[in-house]
Structures are given as C-alpha cells and as structure tokens.
Amino acid sequence: MPGFQPDRPMPDKTGIGLKVEHYRDVLEGRPDLGFFEVHPENYMLGGGPGLTTLEAVRSNYPLSLHGVGASLGSYDPVDPDHLTRLKALVDRFEPFVVSEHLSWSRYQDHFLADLLPLPLTTAALAAMTANVNHMQEALGRTILVENPSTYLEFSHADMTEPEFLRALVKATGCGLLLDVNNIHVCAMNHGFDPIGYLDAIPGDAVGEIHLAGHSIDRYGERDIRIDTHGAPINDDVWALYEQAIIRIGPKPTLIERDDNLPPFADLLAEAKQAEHVMASLAQGANNASVAG
C-alpha cells in the first residue's frame, strides 16, 4: 500500500518558520532555503503589509501553512468560520502543505490557548478522525498532523501515540508532521524510548519534519522538558533527527523558533546543518548499498 501522497511537489531543502523580525532578511537577503512556514491564524486579517509581505515571500519560495487553532482533537466539530478563513488563505497562497496538531484547544465556547493533550482513546480517535476528514473535505486536499509536546498523560488511554497516529492515517489518508523535538520532550517527560517511537510510527506517512529547541524546568529532583521554541536545537534532538532520517529518508525539514529570536543567520545555519545531515545519510546509504 503506498504511503501518504503529497498533493503538491515537496521542496527538497530545509525551511525556517517566518517571523516578522526576519521579514527584511528574507525579502532582501533571499536566503537559499527550500520553503517558509507560517501559522495561518496570524494572517487572518483584512489586508495590509502582513499579507502583502507574505505574498512577496510566497513569490520566491514554497510556503507551508501550519495551523494552531483548528482544535482537531475537540469533541466538538471544527469551527466552520475557522475553516472558511483557512480555505481563503489556502486559495490565495497555494501552500505545498497544510498541517495541524494531534491536540485540542476548544471546548464549546471556550478557546484554551494551548495545544492540549488528548486522551489516546478510541473515542478521541473517532473525534479526531471526523475533524480531520471534515477539514480535508473543506480544503479539498490532505493535511499533515503533528505529534505535540505533552506534560501529562491520561490513565485511561487505549493506545500509544504511534498507534493512535497510525490508526488516524489509515482512517483519514492524512500524512504526519513528525516533530523530533516533541518526541524527545515527551520521551524524557513520560519515560519512553524515542527510538522505539520512531520505529512504531508509519514512516511512509511522514511529509515534513520539525526541529526546535526546548527548555528544562527543575521540579524537586526532576527535570521537566518544556517545548519553548526558545533555544538552539540541542545535541539530543540532532541525534534523534539522524535516527529519523535513517528510517524515513530525507523530508522537508523546518527550523522552528518563536522565542529568544536570534539573528536570522543563526537559524539559517541550523537549516544548513539539517540539510547536511540528510545529504550525508543519503551518501552513507548509497555507499552501503554499493558495498552490499
């Protein structure tokens, strides 16, 4: 059975999350990158320089729309108003990929402004499946769903996160956005083997990878890892990224940074490092097959 088939050609180089502070670096410097990514919620505006700047970036690069507000894991259906606004942006900017999260944020009229953890139950899978199908139908294309960072687990879970994702992919035809930093954060917080996680997910469904830095909070004798997007990508995450690429092959990879923004050149260096990892592992795979 073929895995996730992207609707549009995927860029073969790495990308960076586009921040307002870096608009000038991107428009004037024209960095050598495969794509940029933004949160569509930040461009749900009537007009103005935000949208025209994004248009200027889009005229030079492929674009990814990475949603944070659809709340696909909610018991409630996706807000039709949100889908209408998202569809307008998809039509206007023609992104190569649209993604969202394995999480929820909305309960009835309350929007809880974070990516909240789902109980990994058959009921949650049914709700998530219905909402992903609804969104894919509304947009007329498949989406990628990202594994989140979590700080708690529910005791009544029926399955592991890889099992949940595998079932979701099977039920909806969606792809996966594999956040390597989130796997590391969750593995450390909840005590599972991150390599085992990589082996358990449906690798052929992965359409994009995220890399980011995190923070470590100390509570008593324990460390809790928090997905802050506020630090450089650390060595543990780079090592796990190599393991992911070995298993699933090169994928469009995004450097995500939201807090403590460094100069654009620092993020570009991280993007180049990711490209180097993919290129050297592809080289290694070729040599291995020649030797074998």
Binding site: G48, H82, H156
Partner: protein
C-alpha cells in the same frame, strides 16, 4: 460515589480540563491523569495554566507595548489575569484577541489613577487596526476637478477603512513616544494639564501614521466622518478655529490619503 475514571467521555475530559485551566478547580480532571513520578498533578497542570496565560498575555502585550511599558511588564501580566477572566478567548486567532483592553482599563481599579492609560490603549488599538485594515486605493483628487460650485459645496466624503480620529483630554501621542523611546533616549515628559490630543491614525503606503492635527482640521474631518457635506464641515471648522484654511487642509488630507470616495 464518583464515576469510575475509566468511564469518562472525551467531552467529560475536555470540560474538566477547561475547568482546571479557568480557575474552577482540578478535582474533576486530576483522577484521570497518570501519575508522573516526582511531579504532583497540580504542577503538571500549572505548566498548561502558565502556557495559556503566557500565550494570551504576551500576545496582548504585543498589541499594547506602550501600555505595558507604562505600567511595567510584571503589573501588565498580573492585570492580564483579570482581563482573561473577564474576556476569555472564544476562538484561536490571537490577532483578534485583546481588543477590549481600552474599555477594561477604563474601569479597572488598580489603574484608576492613571487616567490617560485607556486612551493610550485606544491609540495603540487604532494603529493596529489601521495596520491590518482592508487594502484600499485613496481618492485621486483629480477626479474632483471641474465640479460646479454647487456640487463642491454638497460633496460628501467616505474615509479609507484604516482611518480613526481619536480625541483625548491627555497628550497620548507624547505619552506613547515617551513610553516607546529607547532607554536613555526618552523625550522630556509631556505637560499633562490642558494638553489634549487630536489625532488622525491611518495607513498609507504600507505604513501606519499617527498624526497630531490642529483643532480646526480635526473638527473638519470629524464633521465629514459623521456625514456633513463640505460646506457645513468647513463652516464648523472655521467657527472652531478662526485661521482654518480649507484649501491647505484638503491638500494635506489628499496627500495623506484620507478619503476613499467623494460623491
């Protein structure tokens, strides 16, 4: 007897989580959370409470940087706790959150003595709304050449969608400049008494301008905005400022791109 933890529905979990994040207690949610060695459940939930607060407070601080500087970041974040409780978000678009802050400040007792603060917030909100207003092409004044004197007198103008006219008894633009100045480069503190502000805020050529107007110009634009024709608006402005110069004011307004249409 409480319901078995195994039987809780997805809606039940999400309702209980919403309670825990909105200050209504953890008791419904806590029994369903898998113990994390060395970390009490309330500390795990504090991470989420902190994330939700930070997302809303930081975004709102981004919309009102001068207000945040005036009251200090620490106070601003504590104030946001009360604001979030009074105006909880109902959707996931941070760009549309925090727009009630000016009215909230008007009646928030801890800042009652900072009587200019709500108007500084109004200035910041108007500037932001100008930034993201629908795109528009300003009126080309050449279209008005060749009208008869009667037609000119009866002209009514529509304003571009990014425009706000803001009047305050306080020198809010000077206060804004003081708050936003880099450390060590602050302008002198403005005279607070008898120093009202009359401001035109609009976007032109991809930039938002906050423009202090003479009293006559301001009252002229206010009259036009409320539907007066050119003759009545000019008469009112002349009455409020004896040296009001209609020709000069119109030239400035055309140059700034104030009008979208005239009819």
């Amino acid at each position: 007897m409480p319901a078995s933890p195994d039987k809780i529905t997805l809606a039940g979990i999400q309702s209980a989580f919403a309670d825990a994040l909105s200050g209504r207690g953890d008791t419904a949610l806590a029994p369903h959370i898998k113990p994390m060695p060395g970390v009490p459940t309330n500390v795990q939930l504090d991470i989420y409470r902190n994330n939700v607060h930070a997302a809303l407070a930081r975004s709102t601080e981004g919309l009102y940087p001068a207000v945040a500087k005036l009251v200090g970041e620490e106070f601003f974040h504590h104030m946001m706790r009360d604001y979030i409780q009074r105006f909880p978000p109902q959707h996931g678009r941070m760009v549309d959150y925090g727009h009630e802050l000016p009215d909230f400040l008007e009646s928030y007792p801890p800042v009652a003595n900072l009587r200019y603060l709500a108007d500084v917030a109004r200035l910041e909100l108007a500037s932001y709304l100008a930034y993201r207003a629908p795109d528009h092409t300003p009126l080309n004044p050449a279209q008005l050449a060749g009208l008869s004197p009667q037609e000119v007198a009866a002209l009514r103008f529509e304003f571009v969608p990014s425009l706000t006219l803001l009047a305050s008894p306080w020198p809010v633009l000077d206060i804004y400049r003081l708050a936003m100045a880099p450390e060590g480069e602050e302008p002198p503190a403005p005279e607070m008494d008898n120093n009202p502000a009359r401001l035109l805020i609009l976007r032109s050529q991809d930039e938002v301008d906050m423009i202090p107007l003479p009293y006559g110009d301001f009252s002229f634009l206010m009259s036009l905005q409320t539907g007066a024709n050119l003759e009545d608006a000019a008469a009112g402005a002349t009455a409020s400022q004896s040296d009001f110069d209609l020709s000069s004011t119109l030239a400035q307004a055309f140059s700034a791109g104030v009008f979208s249409t005239a009819r």
